[in-house]
């Protein structure tokens, strides 16, 4: 399988041979930043288009069709339109916090985005505490949303932000516990380590019932953390207009929208990484010929394919279920998902210590 690590190593050696070390590092950081920016905007645009098309398909419509072939240029038109809008700040807003909020939201999503394993050797931030780092930085986003609602000086945004905050912190626990379950099985927090451990079978298949349960809990919790689908009560249109970003206009609003779609990709990517083997191809033990064919498909295609598939499930859930009430939402987390998740973790720990999982 193609290894991007060889390419980056070659580039690093080449640069190091002609210039001093600090310059090499600077050039490499600039390369990383450009790559991140391009990938970030492309994924965001693709996701907006993807959601509109899938939503149209589910509702027996065509979705955007006018701008460009099959509406492919619609998103670009939207970006240009949103850039031309005036940036309004209201009276009596806390101007500093109001302007700080989009930065926090975008920084949180950019940091988690940089941690995703895109392919063999193609991962920007690869810490030995990778998953823990993801859990830690993704919670900066909540802060941004709370600030946005608080600083806007409007009743809708305040209530929207409070709901959003309560929902996101509650479901973060379930997310964390299902990630813990997988860390327990993998025995490492490093993202590369988790992916490598799934070479002979994805954790969803390897880890018996606890892994499947953890996957289901993760999917529900991730959906709620993104304020999407049946859990979109922070932005319930008929109650709160648009929730925490009601008073943001133009590109200021665009940042929240961008981060929302990117977060969708990030949770899909993390689900892929933890349960579906990251960029690892599908291998079935004993089927040598089949495994060899699967190895020919590039790792990037595997990762993106799995992530887009999981996103499709999120879209499907969103357009199929009615919105829940806030008491139902909190009861689901604290009375069902949390206790089930904790028991699940203990069961997984027993399985791991007794060596009852596949490929032990």
């Amino acid at each position: 399988m193609f290894d991007f690590g060889i390419v980056t190593k070659w580039l690093d050696d080449l640069l190091n041979s002609v210039m001093p070390g600090w310059l090499t590092t600077t050039i490499e950081c600039v390369l990383v930043a450009v790559g991140l920016l391009v990938a970030y905007s492309l994924i965001a645009m693709f996701y907006i288009f993807y959601e509109r098309k899938v939503c149209g398909w589910i509702q027996c419509r065509l979705g955007p069709m006018r701008v460009g072939k099959w509406g492919l240029l619609q998103v670009f038109a939207d970006v240009i339109k949103i850039l031309q809008k005036e940036l309004i700040t209201l009276w009596h807003t806390d101007k500093f916090l109001f302007k700080l909020a989009p930065y926090l939201v975008l920084i949180a999503s950019m940091l988690t985005f940089a941690c995703l394993p895109w392919g063999r050797g193609l991962q920007i931030v690869d810490m030995n505490i990778g998953v823990f780092f993801i859990v830690a930085v993704s919670s900066i986003g909540v802060l941004g949303i709370l600030l946005a609602g608080w600083a806007s000086n409007s009743k809708y945004t305040l209530i929207g932000a409070m709901r959003s905050g309560a929902q996101m912190i509650s479901y973060e626990l379930s997310c964390g516990i299902s990630i813990l379950t997988i860390v327990c099985l993998a025995g490492t927090m490093s993202i590369t380590g988790i992916v490598e451990a799934q070479a002979d079978g994805w954790f969803l298949f390897k880890g018996h019932l606890p892994a499947i349960l953890a996957f289901i809990i993760y999917m529900i919790a991730a959906n709620a953390e993104n304020n999407r689908g049946p859990f979109d009560l922070p932005e319930a249109e008929h109650e709160l207009t648009a929730g925490y970003h009601t008073e943001y206009s133009g590109i200021h609003f665009g940042f929240f929208y961008l981060a929302e779609y990117l977060n969708l990709f990030i949770v899909s990517g993390i689900a892929t990484l933890l349960f579906l083997g990251g960029w690892m191809p599908l291998h079935i033990p004993g089927w040598e010929g089949f495994n060899n064919i699967m190895d020919y498909i590039p790792s990037v295609v595997w990762f993106l394919g799995k992530a887009f598939f999981i996103t499709f499930i999120f879209f499907w859930i969103r357009w199929s279920f009615p919105r829940v009430r806030i008491d139902q939402m909190l009861a689901l987390e604290w009375r069902y998902l949390m206790p089930i998740g904790l028991v699940n973790l203990v069961v997984m720990a027993i399985i791991v210590t007794q060596g009852w999982y596949f490929g032990a």
Binding site: V32, Y40, Y103, L106, M110, L173, V183, M189, V346
Partner: protein, 124 residues
């Protein structure tokens, strides 16, 4: 030390990623400021309230329940942080790890059960 892509330190790359986020926001804001219109009318600065004039202070009262859930969250979030190192080495330690963390979890779940019994998990 912890190295990632290009053999650069992970911390440096994480800072680069954060700065890229800042750059994205600043860049887009500058473009919007350059090509966007600017106008001033007095009514524009009013908070949105379905078209009618704003009434009262915008810092309205909200449900105290949010605070309660935030406190509960704090308890379990710290627990998750403690459990991460345990989960990493759980495979090597064996049944002793189970015993140790079992005690820890039982005490925490007792806390949750108490909150549940007191009705803290019910939205009133």
């Amino acid at each position: 030390m912890d190295f990632s892509i290009f053999g650069v330190q992970s911390t440096t790359l994480a800072i680069t990623a954060a700065l890229t986020g800042v750059l994205l926001v600043v860049g887009a804001l500058v473009i919007a400021w350059l090509i966007g219109p600017r106008s001033y009318t007095e009514k524009k600065g009013e908070p949105f309230e379905c078209g009618i004039p704003t009434r009262g202070d915008s810092m309205a009262q909200y449900h105290v329940g949010y605070y309660l859930f935030a406190i509960l969250f704090l308890m379990f979030d710290v627990e998750t942080v403690f459990l991460f190192p345990w989960a990493t080495i759980c495979k090597n330690i064996g049944s002793q790890a189970l015993l140790a963390v079992g005690t820890f979890l039982v005490i925490l779940v007792l806390g949750l059960a108490y909150a549940w019994k007191k009705g803290a998990l019910r939205w009133k």
